[in-house]
């Protein structure tokens, strides 16, 4: 078995008892990357020299240093800024951005907690996409079957954990970009409440929706990683000044009396029968554990995708204006005027999906269309948010599938933006409402691809989301399954 099959607590114990070293863990990462990343393509940049040096330093402190994530190998999505470590957002525009000058707040927090950054993870360019096919470098593949996509946009983050290349990773989620790839790759991914985690140093896509969150193999490890990265940050005015609970204390396995709402819209015709069956079977498991569930309604769900694409693209069109070829990144050759330089640098640096969304956003914000599109979408966002708040007054959590189908094949829908967008229909509403949501493994399709269960909670109530997810995980063994990629792990 791999060292990464142990839990965080087991690894900490082994490290502190000196049964294993941090160097062992870091070498395990790079050996596995060497063995399988040619197929999985989860990494864009490796941090090997630095990581091995850091491992050596940490090994000297084994047994005495009780930092929360001591010595554990982590992968970081490439839209999270890492000082001195290349950060590209999988875009040609930032291909030469090899020397970022500061750390994202989450990366500083990882450093305080003493994890070891193994490298930067592949993604859809600027986090725009649901399959990783929009990476301008190469498409990450699903470790369960490399003919299939890993999901996106945090496809590298989910695939690297599923493939055993790192112990855990950070992703970002604007419309499902942590939960959807976690579902497709059979791992645990949480989008925290908006404001729980600082966005400082996360390259902005849609600022009112973006959140950084953890991807792990187990719910408990996910809770540990969230504890380490959460908290108010004076560098992010939208980070919330609320207490960070000790999420791991809530993992009792007890869900007796828990009230679950199951939105009928989340089990409608568009959802594949085997996904529906996996969710129903999970609900039966919750009944056995003493929870109750009832059908509820989130009536504006069907409007979420349209609302999201208008709002996220509008925000993106403003946020991505900073890429002008003046201060960093790639500049076009031989432009004669400033305007020509802006336009050609951007056109050469951005891929089609990024251009499409910038133009959609520019259109929705432009004079004469603002009220009809942008403001309308903001109003519908209010209705969607109200739907969630109403249901969550009466229920502790909302449960449904994470995605309507398991992973699709590479190349299958890449040329059809609307069909691609529809993939996020069950995750997008959660971002619009700002509530926390997790995806945990709850089954496999007949093709052997993972299926994800989505658990959604109240604002700042990750504690109940984790408790609910953990009880299910404890009662099942879906999370213990491993892909056979590169042969069984020794």
């Amino acid at each position: 078995m791999s060292l990464f099959d142990y839990t965080l607590r087991e690894l900490q114990e082994k490290l502190h008892n000196k049964e294993i070293s941090v160097t062992d863990l870091v070498e395990e990462s790079y050996q596995r990357i060497e063995a399988v990343d040619g197929e999985v393509k989860a990494f864009l940049t490796l941090n090997k020299e630095q990581a091995l040096k850091q491992a050596e330093e940490l090994d000297a402190a084994r047994g005495t240093d009780s930092a929360a994530l001591f010595g554990l190998p982590i992968g970081v999505k490439d839209n999270i800024v890492t000082k001195g470590l290349r950060t590209t957002c999988a875009s040609q525009f930032l291909d030469n951005f090899t020397d970022p000058l500061y750390e994202a707040t989450v990366v500083e927090k990882l450093a305080d907690a003493k994890s070891v950054t193994i490298g930067k993870l592949n993604m859809d360019e600027f986090a725009m996409g649901s399959s990783n096919e929009n990476s301008s470098y190469y498409a990450t593949r699903n470790p369960w079957n490399t003919d299939y996509v890993p999901g996106g946009s945090s496809g590298g983050s989910a695939a690297s954990v599923a493939a055993g290349e790192v112990f855990f990773s950070l992703g970002s989620d604007t419309g499902g970009s942590i939960r959807q790839p976690a579902a497709f790759c059979g791992v645990v991914g949480l989008k925290p409440t908006y404001g729980r985690v600082s966005r400082f140093g996360l390259v902005a896509f849609a600022s009112s929706l973006d959140q950084i969150g953890p991807i792990t193999r187990t719910v408990e490890d996910n809770a540990y990683l969230l504890e380490a990265i959460s908290g108010h940050d004076k560098m992010d005015a939208t980070s919330a000044d609320v207490e960070v609970p000790k999420f791991t204390d809530a993992l009792t396995g007890d869900v007796k009396g828990l009230k679950i709402g199951v939105p009928k819209e989340y089990l409608s015709e568009g959802v594949a029968p085997e996904v529906k069956e996996a969710v129903m079977s999970a609900l039966r498991k919750y009944e056995e554990l003493g929870a109750t569930w009832e059908e509820v309604s989130l009536p504006h769900s069907k409007y979420a995708v349209a609302t999201y694409y208008l709002l996220a693209s509008s925000e993106a069109s403003a946020n991505l204006a900073r890429f002008d070829g003046v201060r960093y990144g790639v500049r076009t050759q031989n432009a004669e005027t400033m305007l020509d330089m802006f336009k050609r640098s951007r056109s050469e640096g951005f891929g089609d999906e990024v251009k499409r969304r910038i133009m959609l956003g520019t259109f929705a914000l432009s004079s004469g269309y603002y009220d009809a599109y942008y403001k309308k979408a903001q109003q519908v966002r209010t209705l969607i948010k109200n739907d969630f708040e109403k249901v969550l007054e009466d229920y502790d959590v909302i449960i449904g599938p994470t995605t309507p189908t398991p992973a699709f094949k590479v190349g299958e829908i890449v040329d059809d933006p609307l069909t691609m967008y529809a993939n996020d229909i069950l995750t997008i509403p959660v971002n619009l409402a700002g509530v926390p949501g997790i995806s945990v493994p709850c089954g496999f399709s007949s093709d052997g691809l993972p299926i994800g269960l989505q658990i959604i909670g109240k604002h700042f109530d990750e504690t109940t989301v984790y408790r609910t997810a953990h009880a299910f995980e404890k009662a099942t063994d879906f999370h213990k399954q491993r892909p056979s990629l590169g042969g069984a792990q020794s």
Binding site: G195, A237, T238, Y309, V326, L339, D340, S347, F363
Partner: protein
């Protein structure tokens, strides 16, 4: 009826500071038209008197003390630029 014409796409591309070819203009016109048509389903909803949500947290203005502090070194920042001269960003001419 199409929601967005090829000329409008070219206009929007200009506003967004993107240079697009004729072929790209054709492709984006079709795709954006599909997406905007899809988005118009929002018109099924009556949103009179519904307050727009710009932000889920009910944040008011977040203030801090206006105190200078050390941030990035100018030299490092300049060195990250594609072109620079005498400690300043260098760009093509702005005036004709």
């Amino acid at each position: 009826m199409s929601r967005i014409s090829k000329d409008e796409v070219k206009h929007v591309a200009n506003l967004a500071r993107l240079a697009i070819s004729e072929e790209e203009a054709d492709m984006f016109t079709k795709q954006l038209d599909d997406i905007i048509t899809y988005a118009e389903q929002l018109n099924e909803l009556d949103t009179t008197d519904v307050k727009p949500t710009t932000h889920v947290l009910d944040l008011k203005n977040v203030m801090r003390k206006d105190e200078p502090r050390k941030w990035l070194e100018k030299e490092d920042v300049i060195n990250n630029a594609p072109d620079h001269k005498d400690g300043q960003f260098k760009v093509p001419s702005i005036l004709e």
